[in-house]
């Protein structure tokens, strides 16, 4: 399956979305475009025409500030009109910077206060087990988010409950607001930590869709424990000017000119 065209579209729509208000969380949106592309192109059992369908697979963006990347993905897959993306963060919008399940069709959980989304995901995975509906629950956490103690409370419980319907992606872009993650508070080795907490752990190139696809496919075969897929990524990936900014791209201005240049770089 060729995911590349979809990934590029997600990046273009994400930047158009952020540029519509002039500023936003570019870096951490761009680093997860591939995993969103692979999940919604192939793995998520969902129906854009019936976004609240019982028993569907669900995704929690625990790093809730990556809302625009999810909105771009949902619009691209037909949950709502792409024009909606241009309302980001305008008063009254259904697309706030951080994900809000009460406002946006297709958003499965509200998140934004880091560490909470993954716990909510554990609740969803427990709910699916109780319902015996076979749904799979995916959560994307930031690497910096791993500094939140609640992440490890959630990890411990999900392993204890043997939630093999539960997959955590760590967006390991190695940066956070104040600097490089290794300089702020080092969280390495991420893979060893998740393994120690009882997860099946895989590490993949987070910008290689086929590698992500294979990891998700493998995660579905794991029995008796949850899976963690560490995505080795580059913050701001896909547009050179943002990549070069380094951790300053966490939240940054996107002017009309910058958008135009970015869209050119992201042409098919």
């Amino acid at each position: 399956m060729d995911f590349k065209a979809k990934t590029k579209e997600i990046r273009r729509l994400t930047l158009s979305c952020i540029a519509s208000i002039g500023v936003g969380h570019v870096g951490g949106c761009m680093s997860i475009a591939e995993v969103l592309s692979v999940l919604y192109s192939k793995h998520m059992r969902v129906d854009p025409n019936n976004p609240d369908k019982q028993g569907r697979d669900r995704l929690v963006i625990s790093k809730g500030h990556a809302g625009p990347a999810l909105y771009a993905t949902l619009a691209s897959f037909g949950y709502f009109d792409k024009k909606e993306l241009l309302t980001l963060n305008r008063l009254g919008t259904s697309l706030p910077s951080h994900c809000n399940m009460q406002l946006t069709p297709g958003v499965d959980m509200t998140a934004g206060s880091l560490g909470q989304g993954i716990s909510c995901g554990v609740g969803l995975a427990l709910g699916s087990k109780l319902n015996k509906d076979g749904a799979r629950i995916y959560v994307i956490v930031g690497d910096g988010e791993n500094q939140e103690g609640q992440v490890w409370e959630a990890a411990m419980l999900s392993a204890h409950k043997k939630l093999d319907n539960f997959t955590v992606f760590v967006d390991n872009n190695k940066m956070q607001i104040d600097g490089l993650t290794k300089d702020v508070v080092n969280i390495e080795s991420i893979a060893d930590k998740w393994r120690a907490f009882g997860f099946e752990v895989m590490e993949v190139d987070g910008h290689n869709e086929n590698a992500i696809d294979e990891a998700i496919t493998q995660a579905k075969t794991v029995e008796g424990k949850p899976t963690c897929i560490v995505l080795n990524t580059v913050k701001g990936y896909g547009v050179s000017i943002f990549e070069k900014m380094g951790f300053a791209n966490h939240s940054t201005a996107v002017s009309a000119e910058l958008l135009e240049a970015s869209l050119k770089e992201l042409e098919d």
Binding site: C120, G123, L130
Partner: protein
């Protein structure tokens, strides 16, 4: 009867009828009386371990999946430690989670200041759309539970868990989650009381009666949304108000009643409450003395508004 026993046995009956109800604990199921539910519902009574923040957000996820989860721990570990999880995962996310804060205020007794929540009503009351309920006794707890489950939204249940004097254990008692209970009618002063100090307040009203003061005693079991009509009608009738609560004087029942009266019916209002102090260890009777929450304190404060 112990309030926790009434809670657990009523919940068990309700869980038998409604498979969506779940019970989540954080290593305090034995203290909370819910431990034995695990034998009846091994999948639906869940120990989340000593991780309250995670428990609250997990409950929010379960609610998003269509379940009605109860979470239980000591009041400060909910209202203080998991305030952000309640605010974001539950309230802001629009989830239907029922929160049980045990051993509120001085009820923490020998566990002392670390376990004493003098601010939980204030914190929970400030959250948009949060219902704040404080049962007086086992009867009220048992009657409230079905209504709390029928109500679609977050409810904070401030639960004294042990043996407590029966105030409402009578055959004709009808409970409405959103209506205050008049325990004794009177014409000279309105005493609004919540939770633990209700029996003491009834005793104080009897002393006041002997001294010629006819006090009206109204139990405000639901502090938010407060029964405005009950408060205003009574205050209008008597022209004098006293509030009695096991909580800091800021932001609790005194706050809720004063806010209402200042807006709609300015009335002289006194309080029996914690005087902005920290918690200490002690037994219940000693702590009532220590913080000025005895029957005699209620009598004295009632007289102060005449």
């Amino acid at each position: 009867m112990e309030v926790r026993k009434a809670f657990a046995s009523t919940l068990q009956n309700l869980m038998e009828k409604n498979e969506k109800i779940l019970m989540l604990d954080a290593d305090l199921a034995k203290a909370g009386g819910t431990f034995n539910l695990r034998q009846v519902f091994p999948d639906r009574a869940i120990d989340c371990g000593i991780a309250e923040s995670n428990m609250v957000s997990v409950a929010a996820g379960l609610s998003a999946y269509g379940y009605i989860p109860f979470v239980s721990t000591f009041a400060p570990f909910l209202a203080r430690r998991t305030f952000d999880q309640i605010a974001v995962s539950v309230v802001y996310a629009g989830q239907n989670v029922k929160l049980i804060g045990m051993d509120p205020g001085i009820a923490a007794e020998l566990n002392g200041g670390t376990h004493m929540s003098f601010e939980d009503i204030a914190a929970m009351r400030a959250l948009s759309n949060m219902v704040v309920f404080e049962p007086v006794d086992a009867t009220q707890m048992a009657l409230a539970l079905p209504q709390i489950i029928d109500y679609n939204g977050p409810v904070y249940i401030r639960m004294f868990r042990k043996e407590t004097p029966d105030v409402f254990n009578r055959p004709d008692y009808k409970f409405d989650l959103f209506k205050a209970d008049t325990i004794k009618e009177g014409k000279d002063i309105s005493i609004f009381v919540s939770g633990l100090l209700t029996a003491d307040t009834v005793a104080a009203a009897e002393i006041l009666a002997k001294e010629g003061i006819d006090a009206e005693v109204i139990n405000i079991h639901t502090i938010k949304p407060i029964d405005q009509k009950a408060v205003l009608d009574s205050a209008k009738k008597t022209g004098r108000v006293l509030t009695v609560e096991n909580h800091n004087k800021f932001g609790g029942l005194f706050g809720a009643v004063s806010e209402l009266l200042s807006e709609k019916l300015p009335t002289k209002c006194a309080y029996v409450a914690i005087e902005d102090k920290l918690g200490v260890v002690g037994k219940l009777a000693e702590l009532k003395e220590h913080y000025g929450l005895t029957t005699q304190d209620i009598v004295k404060k009632a007289k102060s508004v005449f």
